[in-house]
Amino acid sequence: MSVDIVPTTVERARVESPESRTQRISTGVLITVIGVLLLWMAFTVDKSGQIALSDAFADVKLPTLDVPGTATVLLSALLVLGAGVGFITGRLSARLRFVAGVAAGAGVLVGFIVWAAASSSLPFTLTSQLNLTLEYATPLLFGVLSGVLAERAGVVNIAIEGMFLTAAFAASLTFSITHSFVAALFAAALAGVMMAGVLALFTLRYLVDHVIIGVVINLLASGLTGFIYQQLVAKNLAAYGTVQPMQAWRVPGLESIPFLGPILFTQKPLTYLGILAVPLVWFLLFRTTWGLRVRSVGEHPHAADTVGINVVWTKASAVLLGGLFAGLGGAYFTVGSVGAFQDNNPTAGNGFIALAAVIMGRWNPVLAALMALFFGFARALAQTTKLMQLPIPSDFIEMLPYLATIIAVAGLVGRVRAPAADGMHFVKSH
């Protein structure tokens, strides 16, 4: 019997590679720059900031917090600066660095919000901010799940936008005819699945480039919905274009919890569904046989093939399930929030933002959902603070979510590793 001299795993000294060093330092510089900015902002305010914990018309009124302006912003700035310097010097262990990152994030948020409140005669309305976050994030949550499912199976999904649009239209049309939310959601899901079917058919069966087919689906969705809207719906709005949007559903009992009730338990059914779908998809992907197979075909389809997995159908099933979620997300743009379909690009690029969240969330449903929430939060922050007459032109405040995203991907997320066979075609051959 020979001696076992080969170690089972490679254990080698780990050091910081030049790549991660560059990454760490650029992150540090970025955080420091933001810290310096906050520091300067601290001295532009001369009064305290008011943070309202409940909306003006809430049933239960909570007190409005009075936060010292300069002091709080200054403190946040120092926190952020500390974290930035910590990154730059490289003195922090990996775990401490994570803590510092989180602290910097919190510092930026608190600092900015207090600065905004202190710069304005109006209070910062926290409840409304968080409510809006969910409002913006709901369709993104669904979109993100659609992206994660398809891409985990190795199919690049830039067609989320097209799925949204078709589903939004289908939901609006169906509701106008049937006056039933269930029917509308069903139609939306079906529309999403059909668009996903086109994606699956052309990438898996006809081996068309995933990006091309994605762009085509988006264009097709816009052409089809637009044309049918003009030909059919617009000619009889009463019959095909009247929708009473979904109302919030209060979770009995829980809705009266102060602060949390009006945020977490007074939402549209679709929002609850979106939030619940995230752990569901996580569970499907990481705790079921199907999920293991989906991930395997996205990483190494040939390996999956050699153990007898039907690669094409596994991929297709993931893409189609993704289509179902995208369909529900699409419904949010019409029956879920504002009513009838309007022929003016109602999905407004949300599909692309969902795609960005998928990448930022490293193809993990939970992380990607958090990114969707982050994005919703940033947009909500722009919305909430626009009203407060800050000394920044409102067009710049509106850039906030997009700038924040760029900073996040450039500074914090960096290089990400997609599923290894993402975008590749599978041809049975060995």
Binding site: F57, T125, S128, Q383
Partner: protein
């Protein structure tokens, strides 16, 4: 870029416009009695914008029904299409071409100069100097908005009222200026302290839906209204076209705590599903102006003098209170009548940089 104004479509008009919204050039089916053709070019919003393109369109439809003229129309999808679209209407042998929106001014002016035999009218833009076949149709909406401001200040329970616009265009901010001055006037007269959020008259800056599609973004309008409501505004004046519908939804969801004042047309008629939240509307009679321009052209009495809608000539007005008839006190009603008279007589002067000169 799509100027102000809002929804609107009376049920009757909606019958008429039902075929409208198709982006199509429809030959009138209502047996035209003359071969006079009236034509219209929309701006980037399109005729189905439930907003001012659609209101202007309704004016042309009325001309079709009442005067028996033939009609044609074309939608613009982007700025770069304006000139070409106006050209295509000239090619279609129109007798009068109505262009909707300030952005079409240059194209309209050039077309008018090159085609002296055709009449032109442009909504939201004054007449061109030295061009005698083009008529500007403009509206001093600051006047009824002033009344609306006074009314809102008088009706507010919280002492805070709000407004927001689609985008910061003069045709939008003129409403907001008038509204703001109406509130100030109320505070002055009654020693009140009603606050306006969403528009800072002095800085000429405020709350706008913004984005790529400011007048069509209903969720944007709703969220904008929500932030105003969160700050305590209980009466909201959305000046954002269909995006303003979002504000009506937000008001409706408040369960009667928040109400709205609509603009452009009588919202109680054009958006009846939200009637219970609409106190009144600041009406901008684009349909009337367009109708009158077409009629004048048909009858040969067309002139290039600009049409300026005012309280005096009923080109702009404050709509009836409908469901709020009983909730507005008689005293307030009387004061509003007085204000109207004072504005017409010049006793009250409204200043707004966006006002037609």
């Amino acid at each position: 870029a799509q100027p102000p104004s809002t929804t609107t479509q009376s049920p009757a008009a909606s019958e008429a416009t039902s075929s409208s919204a198709s982006a199509s050039a429809t030959e009138s089916s209502a047996a035209p009695t003359t071969d006079f053709t009236a034509c219209m070019v929309s701006d980037a919003g399109g005729f189905d914008d439930k907003s001012f393109n659609e209101t202007a369109y309704a004016g042309m439809m009325r001309a079709k029904d009442e005067l028996g003229v033939q009609t044609k129309q074309i939608e613009s999808n982007a700025e770069a299409e304006y000139a070409g679209n106006v050209q295509s209407m000239i090619d279609a042998n129109c007798d009068i071409i109505v262009t909707v929106g300030f952005a079409l001014a240059n194209a309209t002016e050039a077309a008018a100069k090159q085609n002296p035999e055709v009449d032109f009218a442009i909504v939201d833009y004054s007449s061109f100097e030295g061009v005698d076949n083009a008529k500007g149709l403009i509206f001093n909406t600051a006047q009824p908005a002033f009344m609306a401001g006074y009314l809102a200040a008088g009706m507010s329970q919280t002492g805070t009222v709000g407004t927001f616009g689609g985008a910061k265009y003069p045709t939008v901010t003129i409403f907001m200026d008038g509204f703001a001055q109406g509130i100030s006037y109320y505070n002055e007269q009654k020693g009140g302290d009603v606050k306006l959020i969403g528009w800072d008259e002095a800085k000429q800056d405020g709350q706008f839906v913004g984005g790529n599609n400011p007048f069509g973004d209903i969720p944007g309008g709703k969220n904008t209204a929500s932030t105003l409501i969160a700050q305590g505004a209980d009466i909201i004046l959305p000046v954002a076209g269909p995006a303003g519908l979002g504000a009506l939804q937000a008001a409706q969801e408040s369960g009667g705590k928040v109400n709205a004042i609509w603009v452009d047309t009588d919202g109680y008629v054009s958006a009846p599903e939200y009637g219970s939240t609409i106190i009144t509307s600041v009406e901008k009679g684009m349909d009337v102006a367009v109708f009158e321009a077409i009629k004048a052209s048909l009858e040969g009495s067309f002139s290039s003098d600009p049409y300026v809608g005012t309280l005096d000539n009923d080109g702009v007005s404050l709509a009836p209170f409908h469901d709020f008839e009983d909730k507005v006190s008689d005293e307030l009603k009387a004061e509003l009548e007085q204000i109207k008279a004072d504005i017409i007589s010049g006793t009250i002067t409204i200043t707004s940089p966006s006002q037609p000169k």
